[in-house]
């Protein structure tokens, strides 16, 4: 009721809570990173690799909890190693999808085993799988911010060769672009973005922030630079929109973000069809 009649007052009330301010900041940081990185993931046709990385992160996080370490550290460490390994597999490996799929199920299985040993982990597991943005504290927020800044800087450094290699690998190779290095470096960046997203929407729903906005942006725009900006903007809007809706409806944030991401993506398909 209050939402429709007095939006400013309602919004003020939402930002009165410390945990909401932190959640907005954390999801904003993760969304901008995910939208930007995700654009190139979709451009390269590597969305499955991103999906798999998040599951590997689940193993890392549960393993870290089991051994009394920080789940975020385990998540980042595992996705990073797996991302670089996937990148080094090479561009042209025909069985790449099978190899990634096997890695994915192996990782989830191991994660399950770790959970089995760590008996009181039910809530922790749910948070990992479906996200718990309202549980992010200030030190975690700072970590997210630093990781996002480093990832975006690294992405800016490799972005030209990355686009070239994504669109025309053979020509890029002939012009001296080190394809394997670019591929491994990019998947390392994807790993960080995945780990950040997992903090917000959970490992099972990373797709919703990494791929949904990026795929929609590529349907909306035919220009590269505009597409990247649009992808980051959509991810941000979906994350913040989801948080806001969750605050007033008391339904889970992750649900609202997936719903918005899905609506935007399917709308982009409709727009593309109509424009064609």
């Amino acid at each position: 009721m209050a939402i429709t009649s007095t939006p400013t007052i309602a919004a003020t009330r939402m930002f009165e809570y410390d945990f909401m301010r932190t959640a907005f900041a954390a999801s904003g940081v993760a969304a901008v990173l995910a939208g930007t990185v995700g654009f190139f993931l979709v451009l390269r046709g590597q969305t499955f690799a991103g999906h798999a990385l998040s599951h590997v992160g689940f193993t890392g996080a549960t393993g870290a909890v089991l051994f009394g370490l920080s789940p975020l550290g385990g998540l980042v460490g595992f996705t990073l190693v797996a991302g670089i390994a996937m990148g080094l597999f090479g561009e042209k490996l025909a069985e790449r999808d099978v190899a990634i799929g096997m890695m994915l199920s192996l990782a989830l299985g191991l994660g399950l085993l770790f959970l089995h040993f760590y008996t009181s982990a039910a809530t922790q597991a749910a948070a990992l799988l479906f996200g718990n943005v309202l549980g992010v504290d200030n030190s975690a927020l700072l970590t997210l911010l630093l990781m996002a800044a480093a990832s975006l800087a690294a992405l800016a450094f490799i972005v030209r060769p990355l686009i070239f290699a994504s669109l025309q690998a053979e020509l890029a190779e002939a012009r001296g672009v080190p394809l394997r290095f670019v591929s491994a470096a990019f998947l390392a960046i994807v790993a960080i973005a995945t780990a950040e997203c997992a903090q917000i929407v959970g490992v099972l729903l990373v797709f919703t922030l990494m791929v949904g906005p990026a795929a929609a942006a590529q349907n909306f725009s035919r220009r590269l630079a505009l597409g990247v900006a649009l992808s980051a903007g959509l991810a941000l809007a979906e994350a913040w929109g989801g948080l806001t809706l969750a605050f007033y409806s008391d339904w889970p944030t992750s649900f609202w973000i997936t719903a918005l991401s899905g609506v935007v993506y399917f709308a982009s398909i409709a727009v593309r069809r109509l424009a064609a």
């Binding site: 451009l43 450094f157 030209r160 060769p161 070239f164 669109l167 002939a174 001296g176 220009r223």
Partner: protein
Amino acid sequence: MSALRFDDVTIRLGGRDILSAASFVVEDREFIGMLGANGAGKTTLMRAALGLTPVASGTISVLDQPVTRGHSSIGYMPQNRGLALGLRLTGYDVVASAAIGARFGFARLDKATRREIDWALDHVDARELARRSLGELSGGERQRLLLSQALLGRPRLLLLDEPLISLDPAHQNGVVDIARRLRDELKVAIVFSAHELNPLVNAIDRVLYLGAGAAVIGPVEEVVTGPVLSRLYGAEIEVVRIKDRFFVMAGDVDVEHDAHRHEHGDHVHAHDRGDAHV
């Protein structure tokens, strides 16, 4: 100065000699048509000249210098296999990504680079095409646009891998005309690989024919003959010439034409209609 020189070059891939002790020279400003059966090593030869495929023995030199990877004097157009991922993007963005794609560190698309891109697009009449997305272009238009990328950096040698593939005859002629014009205007040497000689025969200076590990270069009349091609194909070959058109026949099968059919998965009628082109 020679544009491209192979001295006793042997290239071995997967235990098979693609080239064995092959020698030939492409002179400066020469337009060479490169022919040969599927798997004869046309793409491999280009990749070796680009420093991407190692040679087992012998030396390759480009403009009298040894081969290096990313040689700026070579313009390369790889065989177009799909390019499915960027079809939504405008042609300009694709060409621009090639123009600054070899540079790390967030290279800006500055004025000089934009001028260079426009210059390359103008040389293949693709400035207007570049506004559209790749998916909207016809096969011939797309080839022109991709060809412009080979001109970036103002190379002295162009290696064009099957630019005519899957084009209809009118578009084939258009692409060959552009290549000939580039040779004259930019004073570059061109190695242009193709399945069929006929679209090229009036444009090229000499032909480079690959087969059975050997490479034979020379005027069309001297190379495209029964005895030479029989050796290269390892089968009895007869060359039938009707005015300016050449038909390379094994028995009564047109070898070049059917090789082209195979590439497009058109397997059904490639074998049993050998007399169709006579």
